[in-house]
Symmetry: D2
Subunit: 319 residues, 4 copies
């Protein structure tokens, strides 16, 4: 192996740059050449490829987003497109590929693997919905930012004795919502994994107000119910002085937390180690603090499981 | 004069607590007694009043929101209610009142003044729409927070080569939008004070893209056009890969900037000085760095004027 | 069991308040009464004890420091003092005690346990030097703050093509230094657990400069070598344009990260669960994501082990 | 005029990049060519000059430090060196120069002006010690960062009932110290412009402790007395539980505040306007909100005056 490629794909996540740096530096320190591929699989197929030198990943670790850009590219589901990608890789002398991203990124990496090309998957997504790792790169930052936003919202909630329903990211998963709720001391948390009863939420809020909780925060994952809808339904059930806020895109970017930078460094570096050991087709993760890998092909037979102990915890402590 | 009261009213603004502390400490240092009135004019009429001692405003200067709570209270427009307020003040031995807030707060203070009661107005609102002062308390923090949000959004914009329309606060005023636009390097800014032409904005964005500006930020004040509406209209005019985000309540709270704390300290302290000099019925401000006062009754014959030089500046530098 | 006590002791750590809240809320939700003890073991011996109601731990989760105050109290090593503490606990009807802190705090809890009194230890210290837990409360925040400081220092380093030696906390442990170094992309890290050779560090820095790394960061733990000393020694060995900075107390306080708030919530809540199950004399921890407990008496036969894989990683990626 | 140059010199200040962007964009929008000069006057003499295109100052406004690097260069005091600089400018076809920096930078610009070359000075320094402007670029950010550091230190101060002496930047000026003290609610502020009496400070601190101020902050400018020295002297006078902290370089870098970005945009843009109007040899400033210019040669007959009203204010409010 002489030269490896790196791409990021899917939604951007804080820490992707730290992962790119780790892959590049580790590879360079092992005397490999490194190529960056812009705009993910789209750029790969189009040949948007350039060489990365040591200095080009300096002063990068702290930056949000991805220096390699990213794009959605549904066309990569077609075999013909996949073969074109492999051709581009071969034409550029790239012997193996590290892909950084979420669900869709891994699908692409599996396809390349199935075609016999060595691809490694590094989990970079704020959603924490990738199996074989406890935390994805970006997840910690997204929670941290969501919690900081709620810290600010709480000032207004308290000053006006108001209830705020705050919607955080999570289409299929309550992972961000659960930790955000626990860390922001919210009264109620609503997630896709658990049925919820608006009548009961209304009772909880009203009861807590009677006990002196003049202001309260409800955290909802976008995949469970939207903030505005829940606000309206609670208002209709007699919850007074209530407002809905959706955090949306403001929590996607930003400088990655130290935590995300560290796991990005570990996983990016390990991806290259695997390739140096001749192991392709692997999904990298950190499980119970230990760096691990699993065949990437098994990934879609597995499902990331939400830690629901947080659900119980959030409810108890809001007492 | 032996005892003064303090209240905050209207929307909360970062720095209100710093102003409360300044009023209380200045008054206590002059051997006055100080009363806090909770929930603004509503609490005043209801007699929600308590004594503030020196230590109770410690560790307060850095906190967002208002320790005296706030409430909207349209009933205060009625003369009967105003007279009830004055009765409460007299019953509590409160000789003069410092009110901290925005437009509505000042209306209340004018009414008390017209009834012969000494009330001082300190401008505390993120909107910067109060005359007789260059900046209101909270304005600087609201801009700072808006700009930090856009700094994060820019990471995603850049990674995806995307246009973002970001809506900031400002129902009648482009003050926040203009400074936010200049400080975030936005391509276009839309404010209520200036007519805008969506066709032309679409051209500007498309031209800039041709010149290499793959990602761009458009800042709009809520009072001009909502982010979602502008996004849709631009999309209809062929601007691709564009999203709308409304910052909303996430920029209202939070720890006040040093700037807001300093002007809050200056204006709160000066309010007490005026009262010690026997001057009531005044609106406090800082104009051209100098602390000033004007008869509060004149305030509604005056209009805060938006500094439109920023408009030109934002457009030039986005070139 | 009808009533439990809580105290914090030793150096303050971000997240102590989140832990206090969790203990209090969990206990109240189980119909226990809760007492706060001010100033750690000192306050306990002096009877500085008060009842905590549900609302008194509201709006607390986001605050740095500890609402229960803390103090160093070497006198607690004497048996007589320990017995006085137990007398105070009995006089106040406190059936069990949750102690939050570091090394010294645990020594106190062990002593109470040895006297037959039920005490639980919750690890609250930025140093991450407590066994039976992967991370102590406050450790994540201390790293995060250190990394943010270095992000700022890097701006100056880059602008002036300068080397900065940055000293972070860690008298006996390189835990903070290692993660800070990895997360800030530092060139060299110096920790007490590893011998270091200033000549070799000088070579590394000079070599990197030749390869184009005009500005570089060296992270040192206070227990290895002070920033000023290392700066001087490197300067004597011909490293030009180099400065030393000690972060010191600026990284001890501050609002806890979401991560620290979550582990504080989990561990504080679990401490009460143990007591409800009649289990005292336990040290609470989170190991491999799972909440655990071990006899607190075993704690001093165990040693927290620094994860040295970070050392290798930092060196490789700085290539 | 066809082409202008930009350089930054002296200590880096947050907002320098925003000023560079403003100069470049304004000039490009007027169809001028723009050259960046690296490493200030040193780079100018050495011919370290490159062309700046529109896109090269994108995504720059939010970054601390200076993309044009900076260096101290005492050699520029010599006439021969100055003439070499002018030769370089002519060889590169640069018709006028915008210099961004502090005191030393202005001296250089004056020299060029005296040799008949059109140079404009834009005030970029955290020290706020340049005449003809109310605030220099970077001053607001330095205060903001200092205040955020003290907000964190206060958590520890409060938890331990401790006094902290915090040293902020300011060799000859108390400008940063005064605003930092007011904004952080410090008990005492010590500045070079005012004599101070350690005995009296000790009394103030002890008195305040008796009145219940268990923890307190003292802010000192580095030019008045160092934190460690003042701590020791106060300790010798019976002030217990007191520590010293020097903020140093951690407050020099970092993303500029919105305030600094806005004034950088205004002043950078105006510098080009002056040149377009044929006016060289000017120092740009913002005085009483209005953009102004004065002959740069007059600058050294003038002295920036510290606003001492803050001194009185800090003392009163700490009551």
């Amino acid at each position: 192996m002489k030269r490896i490629g790196i791409l990021t794909s899917g939604g951007d996540a804080p820490g992707m740059n730290a992962a790119i740096r780790a892959v590049a530096r580790k590879a360079l320190s092992a005397n490999l050449e490194v190529c960056g591929i812009n705009y993910g699989y789209k750029g790969l197929v189009e040949g948007n490829i350039f060489e990365i030198k040591e200095k080009e990943v300096s002063d990068l670790i702290q930056l949000g987003g991805t220096m390699l850009y990213t794009a959605r590219y549904p066309e990569f589901a077609e075999e013909q497109t996949q073969l074109k990608a492999i051709e581009q890789l071969k034409n550029n002398g790239i012997d193996a590929l590290v892909t950084i991203g979420g669900d869709g990124t891994y699908h692409g990496a599996v396809k390349l693997t199935e075609h016999g090309y060595n691809a490694i998957g590094v989990p970079g997504t704020i959603d924490n919905d990738i199996p074989f790792t406890d935390h994805t790169i970006g997840f910690n930052t997204a929670i941290q930012t969501s919690v900081e936003e709620i810290d600010r919202i709480r000032d207004t909630a308290k000053s006006h004795s108001r209830i705020f329903v705050v919607e955080v990211m999570g289409r299929n998963s309550g992972e961000i919502a659960l930790r955000t709720a626990v860390a922001s001391g919210s009264q109620v948390v609503v997630i896709p994994e658990k049925p919820f009863d608006v009548d009961q939420i209304a009772e909880t809020i009203k009861d807590a107000r009677l006990r002196g909780h003049d202001h309260q925060i409800i955290v909802t994952a976008e995949g469970a119910i939207h903030a505005q809808d829940l606000t309206e339904q609670l208002s209709n059930r007699g919850v007074e002085n209530i407002r809905g806020v959706s955090l949306g895109h403001v929590v996607r970017g930003g400088s990655p937390t130290a935590y995300d930078r560290v796991i990005a460094a570990r996983m990016g570096s390990y991806a290259v180690e695997l390739l140096l050991n001749g192991q392709g087709g692997q999904a990298v993760g950190i499980e119970n603090q230990i760096i691990t890998h699993h065949p990437i092909i098994d990934l879609f037979n597995t499902k990331a499981v939400t830690d629901l102990s947080m659900y119980e915890l959030a409810n108890t402590l809001s007492y």
